[in-house]
């Protein structure tokens, strides 16, 4: 009988019951007994680590890759030092390259406007980071012992309210010079780590929360992340940590496979990029919309080509980055599901949402869907599901992205920041509508047919929806909603 951990590993983003196709059998290295035993040996571990370093260095360079591999190895092979190694590695990357974690350019731009030198601006950033981490440590410790505290009971609302309040003070021009720069630095740092802190605070409500130092180690962990926590928080990492040497070996081999796949996708992206951007000189979507607004002519074919390529490139880019992050986390021993998992196979919009950006979907489910679902319309199941899904994919999505780019408030003021967000708001609304309807249909048991015609039709419907929505979903804020709607109409021949 398979142990719980074996079955859990088998279910990592796979469907073990379906008859394995020949190609998948060929690549099922993690099921190979000799290989899993070899990877548990000293020599096998060294070979594994060397391969990881080699493959990572294609993207990150040798030194950084060696750092990742070393930190992951200590996490995986030295459980006693896991907490300190996780925290140290995460902090080291932050100190060496704060711009990889925080919008450093935005803070320096604010410093320049306030006539503060760049050196002082950078010091303000480090001070803000230190202040945030110390503050988080205190807050996590207090929340663990005082579960009725508002930050413990309502972490997301409290954190968002705090950021809003601080933004209000910053935007009101009460402060000037270095004080203003320091305040904006703290706001921007806080927003970069907001959802990590939210997961940490939620973990304090569990029976055995992880120590505060471990929690801080998961704040933009060394294996990588975006503003969305990849691996969620400490609670999820605890559950997905490999429990036996065999588990660890299988997880690490899966990590290496994923890293190899990420490398292949990266080369594919480079090749396609050369083909579309250099050989065929296809304009990108943003430039094409600018041409449209300026009244310059272009063919509908090139417009559709630009839209398809831009959307495909975004998906590839997300997949490559996500796979690299998860691969390194798996090397560290965490059996995390992939962030992007065969999005082209999505049969419904709700399924696409689950496959395209898994950890963002989980964040919205954890902090927006379930709090709503558990409280409203309990006697009306369809309305309940629809509304909760809408709150997550619509409202939660909009809130997440508005706060993610909060530095725009510093650049253009609150009102202009809201106005320029209108297109993304429309995107959130339409996406939420699509997912909500799809989710309600799934709950009612309406499933797409498995015929080949139905599979093709599902693909066209889902990705047709995604393509059209992509016009509104880019976060550049370069074009108004009206301009984007007009541009979309032009794709169908309406000018």
């Amino acid at each position: 009988m398979m142990s719980a951990s074996d079955s859990a590993i088998a279910s990592i983003r796979e469907r073990p019951d379906q008859p394995r196709r020949a190609l998948r059998d060929w690549f099922a290295f993690d099921q190979n007994t000799w290989l899993t035993n070899y990877v548990q040996s000293c020599v096998g571990r060294i070979v594994l680590l060397l391969l990881f370093t080699l493959f990572c260095s294609q993207t990150f360079g040798f030194v950084l890759s060696l750092g990742f591999t070393t930190a992951a190895a200590v996490c995986a092979y030295c459980p006693r030092f896991r907490t300190i190694s996780l925290f140290s590695a995460t902090l080291t990357i932050l100190m060496i390259s704060p711009s990889s974690r925080v919008a450093l350019h935005a803070i320096l731009s604010i410093a320049q406007r306030e006539h503060i030198s760049q050196a002082l601006g950078i010091r303000a950033v480090y001070l803000a980071i230190a202040g945030f981490f110390i503050g988080s440590f205190i807050v996590i410790t207090v929340a663990r012992h005082c579960k009725t505290w508002v930050l413990a009971r309502r972490p997301v609302m409290t954190l968002l309210a705090t950021v809003s309040l601080l933004c209000g003070v910053a935007a009101s021009s009460i402060l000037h010079g270095l004080a203003q720069v320091a305040l904006w630095a703290f706001i921007i740092v806080m927003v970069s780590y907001l959802w990590f802190l939210a997961y940490a605070l939620v973990d304090q409500r569990t029976r055995e929360p992880s120590p505060a130092l471990f929690q801080l180690g998961t704040f933009h962990p060394f294996w990588g992340s975006t503003t969305v926590p990849f691996g969620k928080g400490a609670a999820y990492l605890r559950k997905t940590l490999s429990k036996t040497r065999q588990d660890l070996a299988v997880t690490q081999i899966k990590g290496l496979k994923l890293l190899t796949w990420a490398l292949m996708l990266q080369y594919l992206e480079s090749g396609l990029s050369w083909l579309f951007n250099t050989a065929w000189i296809l304009p990108n979507l943003n430039d094409l919309q600018t041409l449209y607004v300026q009244g310059q002519a272009y063919s509908i074919a090139s417009a559709w080509g630009a839209l398809i390529w831009t959307t495909a490139d975004s998906a590839l880019h997300l997949a490559v980055g996500g796979h690299q992050v998860i691969a390194i986390a798996r090397l560290a021993g965490f059996r995390l599901p992939r962030n992007t998992w065969r999005p082209l196979e999505a049969r419904t919009i709700a399924e696409y949402w689950n496959r395209y950006y898994f950890y963002f979907k989980e964040l919205l489910v954890d902090f927006f869907f379930f709090p709503t679902f558990l409280r409203v319309f309990r006697k009306h199941p369809r309305l309940r599901t629809f509304f909760a899904t809408f709150m997550a994919a619509g409202v939660g999505n909009a809130v997440f992205h508005f706060f993610k780019d909060i530095q725009i408030v510093a650049e253009v003021g609150l009102w202009n920041a809201l106005i320029s967000f209108e297109s993304y708001l429309f995107y959130c609304f339409m996406l939420a509508l699509g997912i909500s309807i799809s989710q309600v249909r799934m709950n009612r048991g309406i499933k797409p047919s498995s015929s080949r015609y139905a599979i093709v039709w599902s693909f066209l419907c889902v990705w047709g929806f995604v393509l059209c929505l992509h016009i509104f979903g880019d976060e550049s804020r370069n074009h108004s909603l009206y301009e984007r709607l007009s541009f979309m109409a032009s794709l169908f021949g309406f000018n």
């Binding site: 279910s11 983003r13 989980e362 709950n443």
Partner: protein
């Protein structure tokens, strides 16, 4: 939680797993959601099942997925309600 209620719960969870194409045996201490064996859609179905079968009001509980992540944890959660 009575034995027949536990059986009802087991049957429900097995049907959720089979819907996901997972036919592995289900032990009482197996992680359901944190291990990604079941997803958030299944979690909503489980919440509805517990509300309708056992009269749980999740709005009054500081809900965490960990509370209902395995059959044993669900039993413990229901015993506390």
């Amino acid at each position: 939680m009575q034995a027949q209620d536990k059986d009802k719960l087991r049957v429900f969870l097995k049907s959720c797993l089979e819907e996901n194409g997972n036919h592995e045996p289900l032990n009482d201490d197996d992680s359901l959601f944190m291990s990604a064996r079941l997803d958030s859609l299944d979690l909503t179905n489980l919440v509805i099942f517990l509300e309708q079968t056992f009269g749980v009001n999740f709005a009054k509980v500081m809900f965490e997925v960990e509370m209902i992540d395995s059959i044993n944890e669900i039993e413990s959660f229901l015993d506390q309600q």
